[in-house]
């Protein structure tokens, strides 16, 4: 099953050293997952002050500067993995460095019926 792991945390809770350490550790985990055929995609995101939100209402496109919702913990990155079941996803989420400071939310990815549309296919 495919899962998306969403990394939430307060953006100012990391020192520069911690951020670098987190990056190194995360890369190592990605490499290991890739070797097992379980890694599909992952990336950190730029801070929320770079976010742009778009809504179309009554045919008119509205653009606002900022995230969808103002919260103390922001979405800071994601992983997409392909593993056996939720227990394996939980085990991986628990190894990610941000789990120690923030929260990792696990969401199963809704699979599209075959043949799957290419725009959602990460493989």
């Amino acid at each position: 099953m495919k899962y998306m792991l969403l990394i939430y945390g307060a953006e100012d809770s990391w020192t520069e050293d911690e951020r670098e350490g987190c990056m190194r550790e995360s890369m190592a985990i990605c490499k290991e997952l890739a070797a097992e055929g379980k890694w599909i995609a992952s990336s950190p995101l730029h801070p929320v002050d770079t976010a742009t939100s778009v809504r179309v209402r009554e045919g008119r496109r509205q653009i606002t500067d900022g995230p969808f919702a103002e919260t103390t913990e922001q979405l800071g990155g994601y992983y997409i993995i392909d593993v056996e079941d939720l227990d394996e996803a939980i085990a991986i989420a628990g190894r990610l460095p941000p789990a120690h400071k923030g929260t990792v939310e696990i969401r199963p990815i809704y699979p599209l019926p075959e043949p799957s549309g290419s725009c959602y296919d990460h493989e």
Binding site: M1, Y3, E84, D85, L86, D87, A89, I90, I106, P108, Y110, P111, L112, P113, E114, S116
Partner: protein, 428 residues
């Protein structure tokens, strides 16, 4: 002679039993196991339920004609699996099914049909672990387990939890969807995970038991069934895994259950342990509880359920309330406090100390807990304090403490007990 005749009659009756009746009996006995196995293959409880129903329907036609198969459970599982594959194909055709179930179809169809009987039996444990998975809300774990493992109907569960069938159905549907869509596995957790996962299964069982045990008189009939269901579930888990804490919890529930008849008056008033008619305690349940405690203690891997059961057993062993070995109870609370360092355990220990050494030492311990700011809103802390103050002859302080307790408690039976005590004190 009558006995021998009875046996002969029973045997003959069984031989002459119409095949239809035998089939119904098999359905009744096999459904739990067959369902658990199908759930494991399909990882979808609704699909498993439908598949089993279809397998039953096929058996009802085929067995009377061709005879009952040698291993009916295996037959039902295999047939159910084929039915599920058909259902997936049908639904896939109309694009009503998520394709990861379809992807597994191959695996489902391919799996070797002949599995060892022990493995089929373990499927029930796998189902329990899935229903009590920590990724499922506890409020959902409890009814989901009763529905899927114990086979209670949604209406029965709703009645037992004093809520509407619609609310209960909603929770169960959410639980089933979570298992299917989030990919909660039907596995026995690995050794490293097992203790915490087993602990969450045991806490679900204990919640079910307590829901039934703390029943008020009006609803006591259906709610008492919940306690029996919890005991049955715990016996099943024990059959599947000989864990010390499973023994401990089963012992604890059996010992509580042995006093069921004596803990309330017919009017629904609480009867305290010291005032209960001990001749009416169920000796058979007590003996079984004691044996389980001994086995658990001997394993040296016991935890807090076993210690709580041991405390309960000390009470059960005393022929009269005055004969209670309070020294042993205090010693057991010392052990419990190390395993479970909570203010409530500390409070219970303080009461045991008071019973052993007199009211004043107990009052000192309770004062220390309350001064720390713990249990300030816990009615039983003030009730215990009031009771000890009464024994110490400090009537005015006792009245104040009992009034505080009365203001905090929401249980009607508790309120009645406190009012009675207050009235007695105020009369003196």
């Amino acid at each position: 002679m009558w006995f021998a005749n009875g046996v002969a009659a029973a045997t003959i009756a069984r031989m002459m039993e119409p095949v239809q009746q035998q089939i119904e009996q098999i359905f009744h006995e096999a459904s739990g196991q067959a369902f658990a196995s199908l759930a494991r293959f399909l990882r979808d409880l609704d699909l498993a339920e439908d598949a089993l129903q279809e397998a039953f329907a096929t058996a009802a036609v085929q067995w009377p004609r061709e005879g009952i198969p040698a291993n009916p459970i295996a037959w039902l599982i295999t047939t159910g699996r084929y039915k599920a594959v058909d259902a997936i194909r049908r639904r896939e055709k109309f694009k009503q099914i998520r394709s990861d179930v379809a992807l597994r179809m191959h695996e489902i169809a391919r799996t070797n049909a002949t599995r060892a009987a022990t493995e089929i039996e373990d499927d029930r444990l796998r189902l329990i672990f899935a229903c009590c998975h920590p990724a499922i809300d506890v409020k959902i774990q409890v009814p989901l387990t009763l529905r899927e493992v114990c086979g209670l109907s949604t209406d029965e569960i709703a009645r037992a939890f004093l809520t509407t069938p619609a609310t209960m159905a909603q929770r169960i549907v959410r639980g089933k969807a979570k298992i299917r869509d989030a990919g909660i596995p039907f596995v026995i957790p690995e050794l490293g995970e097992l203790p915490t996962r087993l602990a969450s299964v045991l806490s679900v069982i204990y919640l079910i038991f307590n829901e039934g045990y703390s029943a008020s008189s009006g609803e006591s009939v259906t709610r008492a069934d919940l306690s029996q269901e919890a005991i049955r579930l715990c016996r099943l888990v024990l059959q599947l895994t000989e864990d010390a804490e499973v023994m401990g919890l089963l012992a604890l529930m059996l010992l509580h259950d042995s006093r069921r008849e004596t803990r309330q008056t017919p009017e629904g008033d609480v009867v305290l342990l010291e005032d209960q008619d001990r001749s009416r305690w169920d000796r058979r349940l007590i003996a079984e509880g004691q044996q389980l405690i001994e086995r658990s203690l001997a394993s040296r891997r016991f935890g807090s359920y076993t210690v709580q059961a041991a405390i309960s057993a000390v009470h059960a062993e005393a022929a009269a309330a005055e004969d209670t070995d309070w020294g042993q109870i205090v010693a057991l609370y010392d052990v419990l406090l190390r395993l479970q360092p909570t203010p409530v355990v500390e409070l219970n220990r303080a009461v045991a100390v008071a019973m052993r050494d007199g009211a004043e030492p107990g009052l000192k311990l309770i004062a220390a807990i309350l001064e720390r700011g713990d249990l300030a809103n816990y009615p039983l802390a003030h009730a215990a304090r009031g009771e000890l103050l009464r024994r110490a002859g400090r009537t005015e302080d006792a009245i104040a403490a009992l009034e505080t307790a009365l203001g905090l408690t929401e249980q009607i039976a508790e309120q009645r007990l406190l009012r009675k005590k207050l009235a007695e004190l105020q009369a003196n």
